[in-house]
């Protein structure tokens, strides 16, 4: 009975607290890392943590309200976590110059092609399934 009461109290707290939800995400990530280490799966620990959180949400052990604000924090500041990664260029002085320009050209041209191919394939598949009439509610508007 008292255990039940503590669980309810804990859930209500989690519901309210963004910090608690942030810690929950970190905890699930660490659990994922530990799992990767134990099982030697070729996945990042964060992906297993993502899987764990999905299981919790789908089995209704955790309400989505108890994770939403924490998720918004991480997704809203996503770019911050990439910033230190960019400074790795300092470790590769060979990239300042011709070589770097060539690499930039590869990335720019390649990325444009990737985006065009992906968008056209999805658009084509959408129109196909539209013709079959089972995607009629997709919002269509001119770009």
């Amino acid at each position: 009975m008292s255990l039940h009461a503590t669980t309810i109290l804990f859930r209500r707290r989690l519901h309210m607290s963004r910090l608690g939800q942030i810690l929950l995400m970190i905890g699930l990530w660490l659990a994922g890392e530990a799992l990767v280490r134990a099982t030697h799966l070729p996945l990042p620990g964060g992906v297993l943590g993502l899987g764990l959180l999905l299981v919790l949400l789908f089995t209704r052990r955790l309400s989505v309200h108890s994770a939403r604000r924490g998720a918004q924090f991480f997704l809203g500041e996503l770019l911050l976590f990439f910033v230190p990664a960019v400074l790795a260029v300092l470790d590769h002085p060979e990239l300042f110059g011709w070589l770097g320009l060539k690499v930039a050209a590869v990335i720019l041209l390649g990325t444009m092609m990737v985006m065009a191919v992906t968008a056209l394939v999805v658009e084509f598949c959408c129109r196909l399934s539209m013709r079959e009439g089972n995607a009629g509610h997709v919002r269509h508007r001119m770009a």
Partner: protein
């Protein structure tokens, strides 16, 4: 320092961590605020903040290692950020159930194009070896890309840089591409940004609309999973 109880060098490490973390977060925050006003491609916090930080690191004659030691914890937060993607996936489960096949087609086509163009264009420009291999997983978001890069014999930290460049270019020029391509569905517009420009693209897609943003985020996670699972096979082909 003797007699204070601090282990040798601990004070310096702590000071370094506080200083470089504060500099990184501060410049990121300033760039983000600026970008909210200007909304130009060059004012992206992913471009502006690193450039200012590089200037600071070079100006203070600090080594990259020192910078990295102080900010490594920020990079590590990509782990819980990956976990956070479970929430939009769960909230959009109805849309996923309906469109997973269409999106999977886009992810497979996009990943194939990404690998082929990186390999082909790099060969064309005379780039080879581990530089070319490091370019292959650039369309995959960072935590996944670094795993793939290591698997296929690339240099993970170089790949991380290329991933960010991809995000900046993709978010910058994706909108121009939207004007050229005859796209009518929000699915295709979202997939374009999620596949081509991952994190930065998702942020951009959210500006177009909630549906585009959600699709972009979903596609980004799918790309990561597909590529990480395909990497061991790819490694066998490339080695």
């Amino acid at each position: 320092m003797s007699g204070t109880g601090w282990p040798e060098g601990a004070f310096e490490t702590a000071a370094l961590t506080v200083f470089w973390s504060a500099a990184t977060i501060g410049l990121y925050w300033a760039a983000k605020r600026l970008n909210q006003r200007l909304r130009r491609w060059w004012s992206s916090p992913l471009l502006l903040a690193p450039i200012l930080l590089i200037a600071l690191v070079l100006g203070l004659h600090v080594s990259y290692r020192d910078y990295m030691a102080g900010t490594h914890w920020l990079l590590a937060l990509m782990g819980p950020a990956t976990v956070a993607f479970a929430v939009p996936i769960f909230e959009q489960r109805a849309m996923i159930r309906r469109f997973w096949a269409v999106l999977a087609m886009g992810v497979v086509a996009g990943s194939g194009t990404s690998m082929l163009t990186a390999y082909g264009l790099a060969s064309l420009l005379g780039l080879g070896g581990d530089l070319r291999l490091s370019l292959l997983p650039r369309s995959v978001s960072t935590p996944f890309a670094m795993v793939v890069s290591g698997d296929i014999g690339g240099v993970p930290d170089l790949t991380a840089v290329f991933v960010v460049c991809t995000g900046v270019f993709g978010a910058a020029f994706g909108e121009a591409l939207l004007l050229w391509l005859p796209l009518r569905s929000s699915l295709a517009r979202g997939a374009l940004f999620g596949m081509g420009a991952h994190g930065a693209g998702v942020a951009k897609a959210h500006q177009l609309g909630a549906e585009e943003g959600t699709i972009a985020g979903l596609v980004m996670v799918m790309v990561g999973l597909v590529n990480v699972l395909a990497a061991p096979m790819l490694a066998m082909v490339l080695r």
